[in-house]
């Protein structure tokens, strides 16, 4: 009995090391001189060149501007997608209306289609509207997330009808019911959804890569990718950019992890 627990614990500790180890190395590498990134053996202690690398990133990609772009895009996308998802999820969960099932199935079926199918028409649409290389071009397509609507529908369905009806009998209008009951009661799932959408927006790459043209508009992943693979690439800076992309979302996750995981699982395990 005792032996199995040691074996399993060691196995998990190994998995933990494989998963987290690269981040430790990344954090250390981001503080090295460029010439020390590829030293053998690898540097596994802090290098003291963090400020210099930050300055380098500021000069090469305009780090502050790029961070501003990324937060703006991900933030607006999150706010919009959460509103759309909560409203639609509420309708799907608690109302009968014509076309409900048809629309729901259509919505979910787009989850299965590769996103790439939609890239070219959306690109042409943005060209025609003159929106290429604008924040709108990146934000707008992300506002409708079938996953988010699905998640909210699942969560709101388990809310007792009596709760809503009681509020209605007390004279609350539909907006008031939504604002005063539905949203407060489901705050944890909504937070999970918000974090999920924010992560997606923060990390999104292919579409911003296509839609954004000028370095001033780049988001962090796009700017990072453009830094890489050049003959003159400063790898300490590239790795610092990767660390900046990775570490804040981890901190956010640490704070909200319980809600986040249970929110994801709500989507995954309820049929």
């Amino acid at each position: 009995m005792k032996r199995r627990s040691v074996l399993f614990t060691l196995l998990l500790a190994g998995a933990f090391g494989l998963c987290v180890g690269p981040f430790y190395w990344l954090a250390m590498a981001a503080t090295q001189k460029n010439s020390d990134v590829f030293s053998w053996p690898p540097k596994l202690l802090p290098g003291g060149h963090l400020m210099e690398n930050l300055q380098g990133l500021q000069d090469s990609i305009g780090l502050t501007r790029v961070l501003f772009n990324t937060v703006l895009v991900a933030g607006v996308q999150t706010a919009g997608a959460v509103v759309v998802s909560v409203l639609a999820g509420y309708a799907f969960a608690k109302f009968e209306f014509r076309g409900r099932n048809l629309f729901f199935v259509l919505l979910l079926s787009t989850l299965v289609l590769p996103d790439t199918v939609m890239l070219i028409p959306i690109f042409e649409m943005m060209m025609k509207l003159g929106l290429i290389d604008s924040y709108q071009s990146v934000i707008l397509p992300g506002l409708v997330t079938p996953f988010g609507i699905f998640l909210m529908r699942q969560a709101l369905r388990s809310m007792p009808d009596e709760l809503l009806d009681a509020a209605r009998v007390d004279g609350a209008g539909e907006l008031r019911v939504l604002w005063r009951i539905v949203i407060p009661v489901n705050r944890p799932v909504i937070a999970a959804l918000a974090l999920f959408v924010f992560l997606g927006g923060w990390n999104q790459f292919v579409w911003p890569l296509i839609a954004l043209r000028s370095p001033d508009m780049y988001t962090l992943p796009v700017a990072t990718a453009t830094l890489q693979g050049l003959a003159t690439t400063n790898y300490a800076q590239v790795l610092l950019a990767a660390a900046i992309a990775a570490i804040p979302v981890m901190a956010l996750f640490l704070v909200l992890q319980r809600q986040f995981i249970s929110g994801l699982l709500a989507g995954a395990t309820k049929e």
């Binding site: 399993f8 614990t9 409203l87 639609a88 259509l106 959306i122 649409m125 992890q257």
Partner: protein, 318 residues
């Protein structure tokens, strides 16, 4: 301000009215119910419908049309199935499809197998520090593909990468990750596996914790050993979740783009060129929208067929 004096009047009437909610109440809820049944849900889904129409439905239909045309802008003209014909005779498309399939066949079972193993560990009450391990294995899935790709392009470096250094501690010679066609594919598989194993493990964990404990008690009473319990009890109980993860991972891997884009650029010698990368090259490097759309539809068809087969094979048995 002018309304203020009038307010006390209804207020004094209210206590009386509250006792007899019946009368005004009967008509008002009716009116509200009318509002509920008809307009409210439509108003609620309006933003979703609009967004869906513009950014999902229209692009899906439009790209089918574009896949039947050649040329861009004003020069676009209908060419029927020419793009699909070209696709069938395009060796690079087959290379990309073969690479994607290879990565899929190796990566999805490897990752899901590991995820199940990790989930079993996380589910075992005999393991110490479970919350810490759970957190750690989940963390990679939060990382964006670009950050992960950049990080691993250095970790997998032949001469000074972290991985080769760790391997050297075990006396293993330097591996030319990313430099040779074979190892580049292995490298891509490793990175995706690193990225998503924990995410799937956490999903499995939820599934495992949903299996009623009595079933295990009963199986023990019947004399079933651990292996038997796993095969005859755990796996069947997990089937819906296994199916979900198999389908989602298959879709994800078939659309593989970011990792090879950042890690290998599709090379060496096109060994890690994936269908989506080839699509991207055609669409946004050569601006051949017609052909790129045909590639997208071919991929969608493959996804649909594979998804259908998986559901048929693994779905509920009646």
């Amino acid at each position: 301000m002018s309304l203020a004096p009038s307010e006390p009047a209804p207020a004094t009437a209210a206590p009386a009215g509250r006792g007899t909610t019946d009368r005004p109440g009967r008509t008002r809820p009716d009116r509200r119910r009318l509002l509920t049944r008809t307009s409210v849900p439509y108003l609620l889904i309006m933003p979703a419908v609009l967004g869906f129409a513009i950014f999902k439905a229209y692009p899906i239909v439009a790209s089918l049309w574009i896949s039947l045309t050649t040329g861009n802008g004003a020069g676009r003209h209908f060419t029927g199935l020419d793009n699909y014909q070209r696709l069938l005779n395009d060796p690079l498309f087959w290379t990309a499809l073969k690479n994607t399939a290879l990565i899929l066949v190796v990566q999805v079972p490897l990752m899901l197998g590991l995820a199940l193993l990790v989930a079993l560990g996380l589910d075992s009450t005999k393991v110490w520090l479970r919350p810490l391990w759970r957190l750690g294995v989940f963390v990679p899935s939060l990382t964006g593909l670009v950050a992960a790709g950049v990080m691993f392009s250095v970790i997998l470096n032949r001469d000074a990468g972290l991985l080769n250094w760790v391997l050297s501690l075990f006396g293993i010679d330097r591996v030319n990750w990313l430099g040779s066609p074979f190892w580049a594919r292995v490298g891509v598989v490793l990175v995706i596996t690193w990225h998503y194993t924990g995410y799937n493990a956490v999903i499995y964990l939820a599934g495992l914790q949903g299996i009623p404990q009595e079933l295990y008690e009963a199986a023990k009473v019947d004399g079933a050993g651990p292996v038997r319990r796993f095969v005859s009890l755990t796996l069947p109980q997990l089937r819906p979740i296994l199916l979900l993860t198999v389908v989602l991972s298959t879709i994800g891997t078939l659309q593989l783009f970011d990792e090879p884009y950042v890690l290998t650029g599709g090379g060496p010698d096109n060994a890690t060129l994936t269908v989506t990368m080839y699509l991207y090259n055609n669409g946004f490097k050569y601006f051949d929208f017609g052909y790129a759309s045909a590639l997208a539809y071919a991929l969608a068809l493959i996804v649909a067929v594979l998804g259908f087969l998986q559901v048929r094979l693994m779905g509920e048995r009646k």
